[in-house]
Symmetry: D2
Subunit: 341 residues, 4 copies
């Protein structure tokens, strides 16, 4: 049993912890955080299913005042694990890395850290093999993770050599108050980092893109214009590939999937914890052809989409499975991915 | 075991079904609906934990095409139950009532129906006794249900004779596309129906109020200015009463409950199904005194707040418990209400 | 002096009337409407700068009650004009057309009507010549109008044979309550009608696209991926063409044009009536190249963008100017377009 | 002619400048700012109707690069004026005050500064006389300014001794990206500062209140529960008083004033510069009685509402008119306030 710890129990950290807890070949040793946030208070109200460790600078008295039991300090947690999943606020992970190095443990960082923090910039499907045995890995961000799933899916089957993307980005998560946007669409300087990141992971693809922030909290929507390397990818070809993928849920507007909030509603109705979805959505009714290009739209559930690929990263780093096919299959099995098919 | 059916498996209907399923002294016989909505599709993906019956006008072929198993027709469901919870779209319940009358079964309607559909306009705490043995009951709407919880709580302890409310109303639920509001606050003609409804349920209180629609999906916020019948209700008095109530969760801004979305976030983190909350929230930091008045703010989780009082209504209609204290206590036990204290 | 009437004094109608009033070679005879809306009440408070005529079905008593002077009925207005600009609610224009035919006057319909209402589907730059002497013309919708400006601009200079667009659509106008969207992005079935409409106007271009509705009120944003017919259109080439266009304002994020709301803010600060802008915005920082494609983002001020092309349509229908160059130049002169350069 | 300068040409500063320019007994000498913002760029595109002076720390080269003519430095402007209107970002005004003191000129600060910056906390109607001859005044904030208009209006006529308010606050202005809120209502700790400020200006009134932030940009809505000192203020009494006030526009939902965005729409249709409104809105259909209390709702156009009271403050500080009645009347005349009646 691989022993795993989680640093930073925020939006991503909670889901990483839950994800690890579902992997039958991993053990979640505990989580670490700084302050008695709402999420930590909820953990207490749930009866502390996960042990809590305090990172440096934490105000122990505040935890005591809230009646939240503490198992130990960050060093204690580090001392008990094989690998740490670091979902601390951006920049903190780089500092934590010094501790991981001293303790000789592996670590996986999330998209908020700089690429230089890691040896490998990782995606479970697109470059699993690069992660094999790696000491420090960094996951692609939520948008890039979901985007690559769809582009890699087409690329494996038909070859893709160029994509142009438009990211319609959600600006906050449900419950956020510190960032937000009101009645405005905000432009980012192009090209978007997601297009650049895609080229880092899939260097044989030329990518560019524009990102626009929108005032919503449930799921990004990305449109992709893709060019087939070996000729036109037709709608039926793309659809067949997408439907066969375990982390892509193909849906139709006419069935009630009217937009990004429909996925959130559906996940809640499914009884998924937190109303989360690990898979990206892909609208069958969005797929259109233009000349030798194909265009389609996907939905990225930003809070949970990187969890499966992070589990893949653990599998790669610790050589639990030898390749992308077996590594992602094991993750999918434990997370129930693809079972809707 | 009281046998219960649910007509209309929408936002409220799903939660009624789940609520009944949690009551150890009730049995959920099944649910009825018209079309293979997202919620029905989710039920299928979950393996049909509840039997599905089709109401008149349903297109059976559409259900077959989606692979959704159907147990029978609406008449079949009606024939098997003691009481029906009707959460059909507004106006449909009144038509369904004719069927319930013919079948000689009881029914409980939701706030969308006219008051005339029922013998008793019901609230679990404020007038449980009026519902005892009643054939047809109508629940107060989501805002009124939560509002009355708080006013009744003060009234029972200290006496209240006048309230003036401001309802800051959410305009849609997560996943709604057919109603919405963009960058506007919309006024309703005053007085708001919630103030009038409060006076129907609590005739000894004089109430008025103004309602403003806001473009959000998570939880209404209501401010209440209340006058004590027997003298001023001080902050400490109000706080003590609120904290003792099993369906009121007293929170503080400084602990992270910054607004309505914090409750949604917290409920998700708690692992509550669908991220729902049965209790209303009440901000300790919002309670202020002014002259002989007290003012405070509450949060109403619109999707789920009426579920407990609907369970109370079943208990009253079927004389399962003799009074508000025992009826609400039984509901609270099965729904886990008040356990956070 | 060409005599012009406006039917329907709503969001578009008001701006058409103001636009005509600015053309020194046209005379605004009056406007027609059905009810004493806010816009009509504002007209009264301004002292009735435009004469008001009532369409059939209007409740004269309601206008009297509000003290709004009425000049005559719809037939009176029709009898006085050479051409009618019809911005009635969708579908009403088709009915009005019967009256225009009987009176033997020309008419120009807006994007809400079906194409079949008109002889020519019109855009001032892209097919002015087709409108010459036409009896009935229909303008492209707001998005299509702005989109074609930019594509035609590149096409004239360098040749364009294929575009793929993503429309990030505003869902309501400021002051709308009857339509709206709250915390959701909504998908339309692809391809979007704007892509199809572009091909109708510019049949030598192959176009496809995806449209996503967003909960904002100020300006659509469209991303365009375009392919040069005679080879790659580089960023510097595109920029030069865009900067030379009188209805395209090239801006930079770093200068403070952060998104769609910046244009609205800027137009208000400019003192433009209603905070309107006739030109589309184009972000220099959004232009990127990918392979032999160019990609860029534009801003469409939905309330006012079609006004210049509607003025062009009057010029074409009445053969006031013989070609696109002279017709659009005359419109631009009176509307002050391009003077920022 | 009183010579006036404006420091800080942002949302408020622009409107102060425009407001002064409309006063026939005042002269706007110029405005001062730090950076070539969108508003300054718009000033340039308009042909520099106001002279621009640069405050300390401004990057002259950036203005030159944008082709914006500069008249002089902040000291130059200070040297030419009798009084400065300081609408710099919060906290900067306090620093600027040192310069004003040295130069021996008067100044009026906006709501973002601390009360201690000024000798008098001022409202044109409620305490004009306190401002007579004062060297440094601070205006009430936008919400407090509008709120006091309505409470003072009732108080003058009938006496008011207690109010409880609920502020439904807009969270950003059109064109803001740096602050915002997405799909959430955010609570402030009670009592709101506006209630406390009201008591400072009107010490004979006891006030409390709760403020909730909402994700919109057009206008705050405030509900007021007020108690008459000399007995109940009935709806007809309140209505008569409100209708007679030159800075309160009484409207009805049924006439089309459905919410806060309707005022913005109406002001745009009126042709008001920037779509601004100096008056607050008050819904006739919102006025309700409860026991010996009256309740009503007002709309606060946050960008422009403090302009009239700031003009009043100039009149008081420079003893241009001796009392509230004559001072506010002069301001109203030049701003066209009350002419809708």
């Amino acid at each position: 049993m691989v022993k795993v710890g989680v640093a930073g129990y925020g939006v991503i950290g909670q889901r990483l912890a839950d994800g690890v807890a579902l992997q039958k070949d991993m053990e979640l040793v505990g989580i670490a955080d700084l302050a008695p946030t709402l999420s930590i208070r909820a953990l207490k109200e749930r009866g502390m299913p996960y042990d809590l460790y305090l990172v440096e600078g934490a105000d122990k008295a505040a935890f005591d005042a809230a009646g939240i039991p503490v198992k130990g300090c960050f060093a204690d947690l580090i001392g008990k694990v094989d690998i740490m999943l670091d979902s601390s606020p951006g920049g903190v992970g780089a500092k934590n890395k010094e501790r991981y190095e001293k303790a000789g443990i592996r670590a996986i960082f999330q998209g908020g850290e700089k690429n230089s923090v890691a040896d490998v910039f990782f995606h479970g499907y697109a470059n699993y093999e690069k992660g094999l045995g790696a000491q420090y890995l960094k996951l692609t961000s939520c948008n890039t993770t979901g985007l690559i799933r769809s582009v890699d899916c087409l690329d494996r089957k038909y070859g893709v050599d160029r994509v142009a993307i438009t990211i319609i980005r959600r600006v906050a998560d449900p419950g956020d108050y510190h960032r937000g946007l009101t009645n405005a669409l905000q432009m980012d300087k192009a090209p978007s980092h997601q297009a650049l990141d895609l080229m880092t992971i899939m260097p044989h693809v030329e990518a560019t893109g524009i990102l626009v922030h929108t005032p919503v909290t449930h799921g990004h929507i990305i449109t992709v214009v893709a060019h087939g390397k070996q000729g036109k990818i037709r709608k039926d070809m793309a659809l067949a590939a997408f439907k066969a993928h375990d982390r892509i849920r193909v849906v139709r507007i006419e069935d009630g999937f009217l937009g990004n909030a429909s996925f959130f509603r559906y996940a809640r109705d499914l009884g998924n914890p937190r109303g989360d979805m690990y898979e990206i959505g892909l609208w069958e009714d969005s797929i259109v052809e233009s000349g030798d290009h194909i265009m389609y739209a996907i939905n990225i559930p930003q809070e949970s989409v990187t969890i499966p690929e992070t589990m893949d990263a653990i599998r790669a780093a610790l050589r639990m499975q030898p390749d992308a096919a077996s590594g992602t299959a094991e993750t999918n099995k434990y997370l129930g991915l693809g079972k809707w098919k």
